[in-house]
Symmetry: C2
Subunit: 302 residues, 2 copies
């Protein structure tokens, strides 16, 4: 195991110099090379190979209904991270005003109004409105993957504003949800170690916003609702490459998901951070995937 | 060749009933099944197999810098289609106001302000700020793929608000750009026919907005700048599954791309509409890809 790690800037520089990533003018908005994408596809295959049920993944688009997003309470708890989509709903006169703004060097944003969609902060947010509200005894097993957005601009390559997650979700009783979280934490650690990553689990809390958020974060920790899977890749501390969350009945309540006895359903998810895992693999095994250890390449099904 | 086609609603219903697509509460925001995604991956492989240079695809995230988007002039020409990302930039007091709005049944959108990014309307928009501005004699060959957003809510499965494109882009002289457009139109037709689609090319124009837009659309048609690849899948008229555009020096001018002699570079692109092609394949060959003709499955590299 290594005892020293590069700075985030050095890691980013090495990946950009090798043509693996390409920056844009906005921190955390990054173009991915074909090599990076082949790694992401391999991680998806490796993650799918860990499944223990008959679910198959749904791919969600990078926008979701605003009404569903609001029901998740993310706008309350993490307002600083969310992205909301504004659109132009004007007529020819409004268009002339927009053009005048642009002619004057403006960016036109003031001429737009909130549309029907927001950007998901987490893939499973799009799921709870899509599953039938009558949850059977066996519960629901669901897989979902897609792009999410978090507004936290940073030059750290581990903190992208847009990135992909692959989530394994369970909706059912409290016991089913907790079993899902615990089982997937174990399987996720095994799966990530098979990729040559020196990972460890840790209790964690989400970055709830503001003063009100402190209570929510404390509850999450006290009740041990969230665990992250950590790996060391830079000198600024560990990077979470996966996480598992027991939501209690939060989403069940928000989306009216009911068990056969009428009680509100509970839920839990395990999410592989596909771009974070890709980053960890490049940081650990080098910028040229053709030189990675055979056992890693086998796990990625290359 | 078939002489009658389903309504868009019937086509959508068949795909939803077969579990291929899953609607949300917003028209055009659709969940994709694993079967759909395997088709999209196959189309990507088939498209990549048509390349005639040594470019490799960059994958762009579903957001791009606002400054770059504004430079493309899409906000002027297609304001009704764009998506702009708003974020929360407030303090604890602003958070309290946001919470009060949500408590009162509001959606909080009025408490957000424009952020640093927008949603691309076309994948190649993210490209022109990323390539070096000094264009060599040989020009640039680039490939790019990713999710784009167009605000045109519709229950027609051919008109999704979020969808993927795979574009082959040329930056260089006018002649290089026109050759690229013409060569790719020919190759694209051959490639799509190899998937069993009865496609035909047609001159086209983009849906420029408003009164000012009529002139731009007329120029695009008069100068034969844009061709679409059309296929019949519903009874409401042909569906474009690919298009090729010669941009003249529009992007070269906007992004300061210069040829060795100092002249502004021209550009052209050919874009495969990945989700539209997937839809056309399901509409043409049926909702179960395991039953598709062998030659189609071979082309998709299954």
């Amino acid at each position: 195991m290594r005892t020293s790690y590069p700075t985030p800037a050095a890691l980013r520089g090495a990946l950009v110099d090798a043509g693996v990533l390409r920056p844009t003018s906005v921190d955390g908005v990054v173009h991915r090379s074909a090599a990076w994408e082949q790694v992401v596809l391999g991680i998806e295959r490796h993650a799918a190979a860990q499944r223990v049920d008959d679910a198959r993944p749904w791919t969600f688009p990078p926008v979701m209904p605003r009404t569903d997003f609001v029901r998740t309470d993310y706008l309350r708890s993490f307002p600083d991270l969310v992205g909301s989509v504004a659109v132009f709903a004007g007529d020819d006169a409004a268009h002339r005003a927009l053009l005048a703004d642009l002619d004057a060097g403006g960016d036109g944003a003031g001429h737009l109004t909130p549309g029907e969609v927001m950007l998901p902060s987490s893939v499973c947010q799009s799921l709870y409105a899509a599953v039938p509200t009558d949850v059977p005894d066996a519960g629901w097993h669901e897989e979902c993957t897609g792009w999410v957005f978090r507004h936290e601009p940073s030059p750290d390559p581990a903190r992208m504003q847009a990135f992909r997650m692959y989530e394994f979700v369970r909706v059912g009783t409290a016991e089913q949800a907790v079993d899902h979280r615990d089982g997937w934490l174990d399987r996720g650690l095994v799966a990530l170690r098979a990729l040559g990553l020196t990972v460890r689990p840790d209790a964690a809390n989400d970055p709830f916003f503001g003063r009100a958020g402190r209570l929510l974060a404390a509850h999450q920790r006290d009740a041990a609702l969230k665990y992250e899977v950590l790996v060391d890749i830079t000198d600024t501390g560990p990077t979470a490459v996966a996480s598992t969350n027991y939501h209690e009945d939060h989403f069940g309540h928000a989306f009216g998901l009911r068990l056969p006895d009428g009680a509100t359903a509970h839920s839990a998810c395990f999410g592989f951070g596909l771009d974070r895992i890709a980053l960890a693999l490049f940081a650990t095994h080098g910028t040229d995937p053709t030189t990675w250890p055979d056992e890693v390449r086998d796990a990625l099904q290359w």
